[in-house]
Amino acid sequence: MRRKAQRKLIVPFLAPALLIYAGFVVYPALQAFYVSLLDWGGFTTSATFVGTSNFTALSSDPVFWVSLWNNLLLLFLGGALVFGLSFLFTAVLRRGVRGRELARAVIFVPNIVALVAIAFVWGFIYNPRFGLLNGVLKAIGLDEFGSTAWMGPSLIRPAVGIVLIWVFVGFYTTIFVAAADRIPAEVLDASRIDGAGDLRVFWSITLPMIWDVVVIGMVLWVIDAMTQFDLVYVIGGAGQDPPLPIWTLSVYVYQEGFGGRTPIFNLGYATAIAVVLTLLVLVLVVVVRRLRRRVALEY
């Protein structure tokens, strides 16, 4: 009886969401696979079907490999730092620590700020002539480093990496602290009586108990790291191309399809890069999800 009453509502409840989602996410995603097989020089010109030649061209495209390398560097090296720091922060931001709520609220803040704004502020911090970083270095007597070009070709990767780590540690710490808060107090108190420090408790108890959330975090990180666009795109300044040493695959897709000081509208090739990126994300997500525990912990 109940089922029957519900059945009448299923369609009106689901249809609007599914229509919008199908029209603006599913259909375009499928269409992208077709577009990636075209040689298409712009929205007004006609396209020719070229099969997989966009993909074969990719394999010998140095910009593609630089962009992919940057994504992988962010994913693995950046990921180790982001997760390592988030674990340390979660370990010490345990319940009952003074100032904890304020600390976790502030740590999250970079995530609510537009990356455009973050790019400006760090651009000013890193500015070689009057930036805050060089100002501080000079003020504490480290004059030989006081005019470093932090955004120069040799340092731009770590410089941008630090900004991304500053943002994402806030996000993952927030997730992990929220998960750790659901562990019953008795479990943690018992270990504390044994004299275990915060790190010990985190490593032996908290981490195993929040492991499934950590894996969800890793899935989100795969997506975040592999599709990073905003910061790289804007940090070099509007009206100029982003600095090549930090291009990611998403930036390359945009530059190839729409961007550049003189847009080239290489739509088929751009979409082929996006297809490769999508398949990479898919594979990585499937692999990471296998890290989940087989047996659920009941607590």
Binding site: Q6, L9, I10, F13, L14, P16, A17, I20, G23, F24, V25, V26, Y27, P28, Q31, A32, V35, F43, V92, L102, A103, A105, V106, I107, V109, I112, V113, A114, A117, F120, V121, L132, G135, T174, I175, A178, S191, A196, D198, R200, S204, I205, P208, M226, T227, F229, A238, S250, V253, G257, L267, T271, A274, L277, V281, R289, L291, R292, R294, A296
Partner: protein, 305 residues
């Protein structure tokens, strides 16, 4: 999330509470705890540094927005000696940030309401109705979170071009609703699934229809979750850059994130650094105020799993 995986191994051992620290004598235990305590103190100091740095950066940006350019370079770290609110006037009117602000407010507001209007009933059906294909549908929608935005770029651009919504705020709103759905449905199904059956069944006994139960009982009960989802969407869309940058072409349709990026060059070439920081502050303050009011709720909203 999803069906339980059939991983072959236990990745982490189940914690064994008795073995955290060997139960020898009290002195050895105390001595053994010392490196741990030092490590904890060190990490706490680092957290304090991290928090302090973040607060100082934000505070410095806001303070700098009321400095004069001369004072910024003479004494960048001091408190401003005079308040230059005209920085804001210059940016708001002169650089047109007021118009961008209005566009952002409208687009974010309408898109957030829109995604709730379509997302709340959908999430309700996906979490509390039983019908075949339900889990499959839910997985399909949530999987959208993993679709790289750039994959959709060319086809969505084409689609909006065909239906005449390219370079329009309406087109941007529709895209925002579509791309916010996966996250919205993920959070909301979690909230709806956590509500108790009993109230719902009591209402059934009272003869309330399914739609009335949804509207007058379940939605109010899930209200904290709905509000959290709304706020998170508002924060994400307020700062959204990729789609706005792709779809908006004319100056009058720019959102704040775009406008900020556009005025940046002009301001830097004119050495109007304080104006730049006033612009950043205009973007920052609304979302910081919202966050200060509701950060606790937002923190809790992240407790998925």
């Amino acid at each position: 999330m999803g069906a339980p995986s059939r991983g072959r191994r236990l990745t982490r051992p189940t914690p064994d509470l008795g073995k955290v620290v060997p139960r020898s004598n009290a002195v050895r235990r105390l001595v053994g705890a010392v490196p741990g305590l030092i490590a904890t103190a060190g990490i706490r100091a680092f957290v304090l540094f991290w928090v302090g740095f973040t607060v100082l950066v934000l505070g410095w940006v806001i303070l700098t927005s009321i400095r004069s350019t001369r004072q910024l370079f003479a004494d960048p770290f001091g408190l401003p000696n005079t308040v230059h609110l005209e920085n804001f006037e210059r940016i708001w009117v002169g650089s047109g940030l007021g118009a961008y602000f209005g566009n952002s407010l409208g687009v974010t507001g309408i898109a957030c309401l829109g995604v709730m209007v379509v997302g709340v009933p959908a999430a309700y059906a996906l979490s509390r109705f039983t019908f075949s294909g339900r889990d499959w549908l839910l997985t399909g929608i949530v999987a959208g979170m993993g679709v790289p935005t750039v994959l959709l770029a060319v086809p969505v651009f084409l689609l909006l071009n065909t239906i005449g919504l390219i370079d329009s705020l309406a087109g941007l709103v529709i895209v925002y609703i579509a791309v916010s759905l996966p996250f919205t449905v993920l959070l909301l199904t979690g909230f709806f699934a956590s509500l108790s059956q009993e109230v719902e069944e009591a209402a059934m006994v009272d003869g309330a229809g399914e739609f009335r139960i949804f509207l007058t009982i379940m939605v109010p009960m899930a209200w904290p979750g709905i509000l959290t989802t709304f706020l998170l969407n508002a924060i994400f869309l307020w700062k959204e850059f990729f789609w706005a940058n792709l779809l908006v072409q004319t100056d009058g349709n720019r959102t704040l994130a775009l406008g900020l990026n556009a005025v940046r060059e002009t301001l830097i070439f004119g050495s109007d650094w304080v104006g730049l920081f006033a612009a950043v502050t205009i973007m920052l303050v609304p979302v910081l105020m919202l966050y200060a009011l509701l950060s606790r709720r937002i923190m809790k909203g992240f407790a998925f799993g």
